[in-house]
């Protein structure tokens, strides 16, 4: 299980990268991250929303209320232009951390 601190720090790049594949809503973002991480990343679900709202305030995301298939109101998020641009920066940072650790541990570094 991944520590709370690391989950908190990785929330932003994870959200950006999930939304890079198209607009989505909170519950679905959480499920996708859980599946992709093979249950390693388990957010306290409600905590994702303040993160989404902060990212929206920072201009990284744009949100809109839509009516879902079930007929209920649902808030969808998508990347703004700034958000799309910031993915490359996030990627470079995370790969730098990963490669530093990889060298120390003697495992194969990764390239983009």
């Amino acid at each position: 299980m991944i520590s709370k601190e690391l989950i908190g720090a990785s929330a932003k790049p994870l959200v950006l990268s999930v939304l890079a594949q198209g607009e989505d809503y909170g519950y679905s973002i959480i499920q996708r991250v859980r599946q992709l991480s093979e249950d390693q990343i388990e957010w306290t679900e409600g905590m994702l929303y303040p993160v989404l709202h902060r990212m929206e305030k920072e201009g990284l995301l744009v949100s809109s209320w839509q009516v879902s298939d079930s007929g209920r109101k649902r808030k969808y998020y998508r990347l703004s232009k700034t958000g799309a641009k910031s993915i490359a920066r996030e990627q470079a940072q995370w790969i730098a951390v990963h490669n530093t650790l990889a060298k120390l541990w003697g495992i194969k570094p990764c390239t983009v």
Partner: protein
């Protein structure tokens, strides 16, 4: 399905009483909760179990409130300042009303030639009755309406704090006001009458009124605690 709506409604009320959550936030969290419920229902659990599981995974209202207060700082402070203003205005209006009743009582006492001591006692008793009446109205309003109860939970901390500050400021001013009104009185009534009235009024004004005001504030704080307890059950 009806039972689920009831559970969600009561959960929404608990959530909405937190000052950091806007209506849109509650709607968004409700949609999340309903998605989770739908997902867990496929496992064949009872509605109560499904709801409990979904609510647990979403996070407690306290946890959610404290997380949202970080992203909704502007909203939280706008709310708090509004409540402080409401507390200030209500307390100032209450003070003016009580003061007005006190002045009417004084001039009535003087015009029917009651003894100054009796006038001061009557005046203070009337003022205490008005304070108690205002307090009664506050309690009644809180019990009469669910919306008001929710508002009371949200805003009472900040309005009570401001009301306490207003009381402290007013109490400091009471002596100055008393002296000023006695200067005005010295033009219309004899000095010995002022002396007797002032003595009775000082005892009443500086002991009885503050006690009633403090009792009102303590009651308001207790009501607020009660509201919090209701919210958490």
């Amino acid at each position: 399905m009806h039972r689920l709506d009831e559970l969600i409604e009561s959960w929404k009320q608990r959530l909405a009483s937190h000052e950091a959550l806007r209506t849109g936030d509650v709607d968004e969290l409700e949609e999340h909760l309903r998605c989770a419920v739908q997902r867990y229902q496929q496992d064949g659990l009872s509605i109560e179990d499904v709801f409990f599981l979904a609510e647990h995974n979403l996070g407690s209202p306290t946890q959610l409130g404290s997380e949202f207060s970080k992203s909704n700082v502007d909203y939280v402070w706008t709310q708090r300042i509004t409540w402080m203003l409401i507390g200030f205005v209500l307390m100032s209006v209450a003070f003016r009303m009580v003061g007005f009743v006190g002045r009417i009582a004084f001039w009535t006492g003087m015009s029917v030639s009651l003894s100054p001591t009796l006038t001061a006692v009557g005046q203070n008793v009337l003022m205490a009755i008005v304070w108690s009446g205002l307090l009664y109205l506050l309690i009644r309003a809180r019990h009469s309406d669910r919306g008001l109860r929710r508002l009371f939970r949200q805003g009472s901390r900040w309005s009570i704090t401001t009301a306490i500050l207003v009381v402290a400021a007013m109490l400091l001013l009471i002596e100055a006001t008393n002296m000023a009104s006695q200067v005005v009185m010295s033009r219309t009534v004899s000095v010995s009458t002022i002396g007797e009235y002032a003595l009775a009024n000082v005892i009443g004004g500086t002991v009885l009124q503050p006690l009633v005001i403090i009792a009102s504030l303590v009651t308001a704080i207790l009501l607020r605690r009660q509201s919090r307890c209701e919210a958490s059950t």
